[in-house]
Point group: C2
Chain length 236, copies 2
Amino acid sequence: MFSTAKIYAVGVGPGDPELLTRKAARIIAAADVVCAPTGAVDAASYALSIVADLVDPDRQEILPQVFPMMKKGPELVAAWEEAALQVIERVERGKNVVFITIGDPLLYSTFLYLHRIIVGRRPDIPIEFVPGISSINAAAAAAGLPLGIAGDRIAILPATYEDYELRKTLKEFDTVVLMKVSRVFPRIYAVLQELGLVDRGVFVRRVGSVQQEVVHDLATLLDRELDYLSMLIVRK
Amino acid sequence: MFSTAKIYAVGVGPGDPELLTRKAARIIAAADVVCAPTGAVDAASYALSIVADLVDPDRQEILPQVFPMMKKGPELVAAWEEAALQVIERVERGKNVVFITIGDPLLYSTFLYLHRIIVGRRPDIPIEFVPGISSINAAAAAAGLPLGIAGDRIAILPATYEDYELRKTLKEFDTVVLMKVSRVFPRIYAVLQELGLVDRGVFVRRVGSVQQEVVHDLATLLDRELDYLSMLIVRK
């Protein structure tokens, strides 16, 4: 089947519509179809809210795609499969499809699951990735905290690790970025205390949104309910 | 001394003017002074070339600042000192100063050296960081290579490390980003070969520029003169 249509995986940055790149803005505005991930059928898409000024439902198909908020399971795999087929079907009809994703599309994005499926089924469909400002870069900017200078080594760890792994990484790297720290924060705090690094950590919540918060005094976080979209940057 | 002026450290992305954010574009266009780093007195500023469509020498002071291409030394420290004083002096005169930097201002940027000096001398001057697309995110996008999915761990290493450190990092992390690999490439290649990871590495040169090149067959690079602005992403 011949088609010149393609798929664009476009990062829309962490939340502030001004942190979109000019390329992302152009490609989203020109798309035939804009796929927007949501966490539930009745939930709004955060990515879509960021680009609300660029899309036009009269001219474009706005296609919310539901990805249940869970780490694994057949329901999630089925959601990826269905979303990938929806994208492929539109490309086959000659439509340019943009999948928008918070932050950067190559860094912990939902699109990467669809990507695997699409490449497996239709390796002939061209896919272009448009980078976006990741929450890591945005958090560092909000905190005014360097991620790396000169020969510094940087590690990025998602939420799952054992204490001994965290300890080791904190010893060996100059900067350690800990993603999604909300559930494991007390454990992380204890390790930082043990290593004398409590005052080297900066907590950033919902960067780029109106709820953005930068916290330097980590002790104040111990009694709080922490946001799911939170990270901790530790810089020695 | 009272002043409402401030300093903006603005990332302009890896090279393509379209990869500038809308915020960066707005702030650069509105600045009184645009400081642009160059490597030599007679050299053009790469960062300035990226934003050429936004600046206006009739309305703005375009101030090239020379940072000699060396890793350390009194000449370099003197250049940082002079540049920091030039920025402070203009803020004291009520001017909003934008320092533009390739990629992201918190990730291995020249501005971070000035930042230390400015904060040390004039902690009262407000500094706002505007994140930019880093060469790492742009390289991953150009190569279509995920930096991380789900629980993946990512390490970023600059050019200086011993073979045993590289070996260890490659074993412990899912993705390893090696910056500025040109001089040490044969050594890196040997370690990748030893670990059976040669086919897991992607080389990206001058991402976001017209000379951009993505190389999957690393063996072809062994006999080549490699570009200073090159990186290698190894994903297991």
